[in-house]
């Protein structure tokens, strides 16, 4: 679903680092769309978020022919040792691709195995659209300046746990708190929609990156 959202926004082929950054941002910002966290935790690394599970899943999809990879290479990881990197995209020549994506909720709630997955898809597409306002080569940097990831109370090589059942706990998930804080700059009675908050947050990340 991450890759499908990236395809819709035309940010593919997408390097692994950016895909992991997208995955992290979708996880930390999921409450903006009233969705539960997908993981709720991430290991804080110097080079940005990295999810071994997602990488394994990607590699499996490559083997099954649903995902293509270009510019395959090895990169040194801080924590996880040498790992595979590459630029990933969907393999549109596979006939099985469209029905699988429909079943995953990428077309309509009626076609999805679980209709709730359609909402997740809408969120991922909107987030990808928001992140597309950040220059391509900086999307993975955006994740490192994210308010939760950049929390200096959590050192590198430690776990950031941002899942909170308390919606007022802004210290746990500073990213979502920041999206709510945009409201402060509106007059009474006015509000931002979830999609607008995502775009505003992407704008904020852009400002954080450029100082």
């Amino acid at each position: 679903m991450l890759l499908e959202a990236a395809e819709r926004t035309a940010i593919t082929p997408i390097p692994a680092a950016k895909l992991h950054a997208f995955s992290y941002l979708s996880d930390v910002l999921s409450p903006v769309w009233n969705l539960p966290h997908f993981d709720g935790v991430v290991l804080k690394l110097d080079n940005g978020p990295y999810y071994p599970d997602i990488q394994r899943e990607l590699d499996r999809l490559v083997v099954r022919g649903l995902v293509e990879v270009r510019k395959l290479r090895y990169v040194e990881g801080t924590y996880e040792g040498v790992r595979i990197d590459g630029d990933y995209s969907l393999n549109f020549t596979m006939n099985r691709l469209s029905p699988i994506l429909s079943a995953l909720g990428c077309e309509s709630p009626e076609a999805a195995i679980d209709p709730r997955d359609y909402e997740i898809h809408c969120f991922l597409v909107e987030l990808a659209s928001a992140l597309a306002t950040i220059p391509s080569d900086q999307i993975h940097i955006a994740a490192t300046v994210d308010a939760t990831y950049a929390n200096d109370q959590v050192d590198t090589s430690n776990i950031i746990d941002f899942e909170s059942t308390n919606s007022d706990d802004k210290d746990l998930n500073r990213s979502v708190a920041a999206t709510r804080r945009f409201q402060y700059f509106l007059p009474e009675g006015s509000s931002f929609s979830p999609g607008e908050r995502l775009f505003l947050y992407a704008t904020y990340l852009g400002k954080r990156m450029h100082g």
Binding site: E7, R8, T9, A10, I11, T12, S89, L90, F92, E126, S129, A132, T133, S136, A147, A150, N151, D152, D168, K170, D171, R174, A177, A178, R181, F182, Q183, Y184, F185, L186, P187, E188, G189, S190, S191, F192, S193, G195, E196, L198, F199, L200, Y201, T203, Y204, K207, R208
Partner: protein, 368 residues
């Protein structure tokens, strides 16, 4: 600004957040459907180029923009027909030449691919259909005419014309009234352009949908967001159909570092009939008093809200869905009294809608 419920967030600079909010009006119309969102982005691109007198341009007169689901997939499919398609990133910021070219883009018009136009513009819709792109939104930009033709898909008979502005309209009362008038002419005066106003198949009988106000509210919100793109945040309030349904327009407030109210628009509808509960049922008539009450409520609310929000003026748009429009509601004693009280500070208009082209032509000819 709203009272802060929480203190600021550790590690998050309020001035960065405020600065992001000030950038808000430049965002895409995030809550519009994808076709309208795309149309607005192409309009923004065209407007910004016209305002700079078309820099870095080719000699052609037209440019074609198609929104597709998976731009890369379409590039792969079309490469045998069009040859190599170049990647395009943020055509607005990067001054990508537009004319004489075909753009295959994402819904925000920000990324995708471009090739030379494969045929003359008058044949492009057929070309799109023959190459599997007929079901996607398409915008054609015309340099000489300074217009955009937009279709929700290439085979649609319905097209929309939008002017390209070499000078952006400022946020003034006159420009807002112009925008409201244009919206009515383009989208409402005859059936077909704005879904959800009339009951399907019974437009000529002047039978409204269950909530025509809501359909108009949504379209008008996006239309104003497009008209004043880059300057205004348009938002709507969702209440029950009885009571206020309005549109709020906000603009940047650099002093207070955020957005502030600029205008509030109340929407009301005059009806001949209630929406029937069953499809082929004879609809119940709406009394004259009901419509007079709608106008009175609209004036009261527009006045009250503009006072409440400290705005100099309020706006009331009344859409007249009546079959027989001869009863002059604004001349009723009740209404005249309200107009004396608050008329100077409320800009009100009654905009006629017609259930058929034939009825519109009759009106047009009799008033020519």
């Amino acid at each position: 600004m709203a009272n802060p419920k929480d203190a600021s967030i550790p590690g998050v600079n309020d001035s960065d957040l405020a600065s992001s909010v000030l950038d808000y009006p430049a965002q895409p119309l995030v809550d519009a459907d994808e076709a309208d969102r795309f149309c607005n982005q192409i309009r923004r691109l065209a407007d910004s180029r016209a305002q700079s007198n078309w820099p870095n341009e080719n000699s052609g007169d037209s440019a074609v923009f198609v929104m597709v689901k998976w731009p890369r997939s379409v590039r792969e499919e079309l490469s045998s027909v069009l040859g190599s398609l170049e990647s395009v990133l943020d055509p607005q910021a990067n001054l990508v030449p537009l004319f004489g070219r075909l753009f295959i883009l994402n819904r925000d018009g920000s990324r995708g691919f471009v090739a030379s136009l494969p045929c003359g513009t008058k044949d492009i819709l057929d070309w799109l259909e023959n190459n599997g792109l007929d079901r996607w939104p398409v915008a054609i930009l015309w340099r000489q005419k300074e217009r955009i033709t937009f279709r929700r898909n290439a085979t649609s008979d319905e097209s929309r014309w939008l002017d390209v502005r070499s000078v952006m309209p400022k946020t003034t009362v006159d420009n807002l009234l112009k925008a409201l008038s244009q919206f009515h002419e383009d989208r409402l005066v005859t059936p077909g352009s704005c879904e959800g106003v009339w009951m399907k198949g019974r437009e000529a009988e002047y039978v409204p949908s269950p909530t025509p106000e809501k359909a108009i509210q949504t379209e008008l919100k996006h239309s104003l967001g497009s008209w004043f793109h880059g300057s205004v945040k348009a938002e709507s309030e969702d209440k029950t159909s009885v009571g206020r349904i309005d549109i709020r327009l906000l603009v940047r407030d650099h002093q207070a570092q955020g957005l502030r109210y600029w205008a509030i628009i109340e929407l009301k509808v005059f009806r001949s009939f209630h929406h029937p509960t069953k499809e082929n049922q004879t609809p119940q008539p709406v009394s004259r008093n009901k419509n007079v009450e709608a106008m009175r409520n609209g004036l009261e609310q527009a006045y009250a809200y503009s006072q409440d929000r400290n705005l100099d003026e309020g706006f009331l748009e009344i859409y007249d869905l009546r079959k027989d429009k001869s009863f002059i509601i604004e001349a009723q004693p009740d209404i005249e009294q309200y107009l004396k009280k608050c008329g100077k500070s409320i800009h009100w208009n009654i905009r006629p809608l017609y259930g058929s082209m034939a009825d519109y032509r009759k009106f047009y000819i009799s008033n020519a």
